[in-house]
Amino acid sequence: MFINAVVIVLQEILEAALMLSLLLAFLRYFNEVTTLSAVPRALLLRRRWTVYSVVLGVVFAWLYSVNLGTISEAFDYVGLEVANAAIHSLSCLFLVAIAWLFPVPFDEESDAKKEGYPSIRIGMLTLSMVIVVMLAILREGSEIMQFAGGIIGQHQSGLSVLYGGLVGAGIGISTGVLLYFGLTGLPPSWSLRTCTLLLALTAGNMAAQAVLLLTQADWLPYTAIAWDSGALLDEASVLGQLSYALVGYESTPSWLQVAAYVVGVLAVGMSATTRFAWRISKSLQLRGV
């Protein structure tokens, strides 16, 4: 039972940990840039929200896990897929919101440095981050709780499951920590670009997952398999799992999944560049061009 526990806990923790690392890296970037400028300290993003979102996530995961049977029976036994698809779509939506709300002063002329960020925008950004992390933990936590709940009944394998869970959690959390240090160790503008890219891929992943779940529920039509890269990178391998958690790698995606992935990536990319373009035009105005 050791390896089962490792696989399940690792899968779930990895996704949540990577999401948290990514957002914390964003936060670090933001605060680092703003402390250098004249923005009042009150507008700095606080890290305390992560605690709230983790606690909320665990509470909701528990509620979800307890009511899984009822949810599962809804919509003619595909309630679980529908609920999960809703969670994934919401995550995707709020990831796009984060990309849109994230204020980025690239240069000295940026208006943000001159005027400071509107606090309502900071509030909305923080809220979006809380929701995204909470949803990630809700998604992944409920599965761990189901697994653990089933195991607790049979005490014979309890210890090996515990060790497995610890190893899984250890690998997942370490990877998250190292990703965070990796992202924050990059030069600031690269750090921002990499974070935005990962954010876009995560949003694509969420959209593709939502589509896959709705296909599984027969709410969306079946579409042909786009490609099979299983020989290149096995989805069940450690590297495959890591790529799945980080960028939503799937060895045999359907065309509809691919389309949803592209839409998710473009949505983040577009909101990031629109914001960037808006900022550029404003800074041009400030210069009187």
């Binding site: 050791f2 490792v6 060790y163 250890g170 990877t175 190292l178 240090f181």
Partner: protein, 451 residues
């Protein structure tokens, strides 16, 4: 604030944990594969043994197998013999090799072996869950140290990193505890390669700072002293002049004013020097603020009387208003605040001095009914030689050092100066708040900073 130690410890522990656990996982998987082949080989041995059995009705009793093993012997599509826990139907296809099958509510590893000599099929089955648990118990024993070692390794990493950073910590505490007037070099006996540049640079800065401080001190003191003598001479000359020239002539009065202003400037420069940290440290003692205020007020009474201004004192009666500080410096602070108040308040205006004590601070406020100070000037007025635009036409002999000295003295005492609107229709309110209790350490810190 980011911490070097937290970064080092978390990143090292994360790396160690990642590699250790992935290694443990790899070890687990390869050991489990090994165990699987071992079990399969046992099944092959068992199959050979079963093939050579003489099949008789009591075979099942003669061959006692555990409940985790089952066998069947088939010949020409007939079941010749089987263990009691084997199913009635054949548990494997008539194809030699290993496979899996579900029966009796369990999953079994199955093996088919055909014996050409006896033209028999022998099927062996072993419960997968049991052999898995057996193998896992063994394998887990070997990877457990990797898992349980992590907290210990984390603790050791923490200790080593702390030890590694100790010279840096010692350096920073040495810098913190260094008295403000101590310009000696920081000892380099415990230096590390990484700290050598930092230390030598700091020591270089300190010695240059000492030289600069010395120069400044000597200059301001010398200049003030040297200037005093000619000023006194000038005053005497002016006095003598009054006997031959009309003392009310505009030229005489302007000369008189000019000399007064210069004398005032020199006095202020001298007190700025006297309120330097070294002077302060030498003269610090507990003082009754209330008595001190009354003293200064009495001394400055003629100033207020001249302009027919009303000056009053509020509070300060029963309360304990003891402040640790330098008497001369505090007197300078007060007299500067009071002269300022008088100067910028028109004739027949009002000035109120108030003393109050709360649980953790003593506050001294001076309010006037003058013109007041525009909000954008609140910070600027404490800078040296700042004179506000509307001051230029004022008749006062100000030089722009008064509030600089106030701010300076307040900082030395760990006190804060705030400027706000006064209680009157117009006018400024200066509030100096002295902390109680913390005062000592604050002074210490402030002294360090002011250097």
């Amino acid at each position: 604030m980011r911490s070097i130690r937290v970064f080092l410890v978390t990143s090292i522990v994360a790396l160690l944990m990642l590699f250790n656990f992935v290694a443990a996982l790899q070890g687990y998987q390869s050991s489990m594969r090994e165990a699987d082949t071992l079990f399969d080989n046992q099944m092959l041995d068992l199959a050979r043994l079963v093939t050579n059995l003489d099949v008789s009705p009591d075979t099942s009793t003669a061959l006692r197998l555990g409940s985790d093993l089952a066998y069947q012997i088939w010949q020409d599509g007939e079941l010749l013999a089987n263990s009691s826990n084997a199913p009635a139907e054949r548990l494997h296809e008539f194809v030699p090799g290993f496979d899996y099958a579900n029966f009796n509510g369990y999953r079994w590893r199955t093996l088919a072996r055909y014996d050409t000599a006896r033209s028999r099929w022998v099927f062996i089955a072993e419960r997968t869950d049991l052999r898995f648990v057996l193998a896992e118990n063994v394998v887990l024993q070997s990877i457990l140290p990797l898992l349980l070692g992590i907290p210990l390794v984390g603790l050791l990493v923490w200790m080593f990193v702390t030890r590694g950073l100790a010279p840096l910590k010692r350096l920073s505490s040495e810098l913190r505890d260094k008295p403000a007037n101590d310009f000696s070099a920081i000892p380099t006996r415990e230096s590390r390669v990484e700290l050598e540049q930092v230390l030598s640079s700091i020591n270089g800065f300190v010695s240059r700072l000492e030289a600069a401080m010395e120069r400044e001190k000597r200059f301001s003191a010398d200049a003030a002293h040297e200037l005093r003598t000619p000023i006194s001479a000038l005053k005497i000359q002016l006095h003598n002049l009054a006997e031959t020239v009309d003392a009310r002539s505009p030229a005489y009065l302007e000369l008189n004013d000019g000399i007064e202003r210069m004398q005032h400037l020199i006095e202020q420069l001298l007190s700025l020097y006297r309120s330097s940290p070294e002077q302060f440290a030498a003269h610090s003692m507990p003082l009754d603020l209330s008595a001190l205020v009354q003293d200064v007020m009495a001394r400055l009474y003629p100033v207020f009387e001249r302009k027919r201004q009303a000056i009053s004192l509020e509070g300060g009666g029963g309360d304990e208003l003891i402040v640790l500080g330098d008497r001369f410096a505090l007197e300078t602070l007060l007299s500067n605040l009071l002269t300022n108040a008088s100067r910028y308040t028109p004739s027949e205006g009002q000035v109120v001095v108030a003393l109050a004590r709360s649980t953790d601070r003593i506050s001294l406020t001076v309010e006037d009914s003058g013109k007041g100070i525009a909000e954008e000037d609140h910070l600027r007025i404490f800078e040296r030689f700042t004179r506000l635009a509307n001051e230029q036409e004022a008749d006062a002999p100000g030089c722009g050092l008064g509030l600089t000295i106030v701010g300076h003295v307040a900082r030395l005492h760990g006190a804060q100066v705030n400027v706000t609107q006064s209680r009157f229709a117009s006018g400024a309110r200066f509030e100096v708040t002295f902390p109680i209790g913390l005062q000592n350490s604050d002074q210490h810190k402030q002294r360090g900073e002011s250097q």
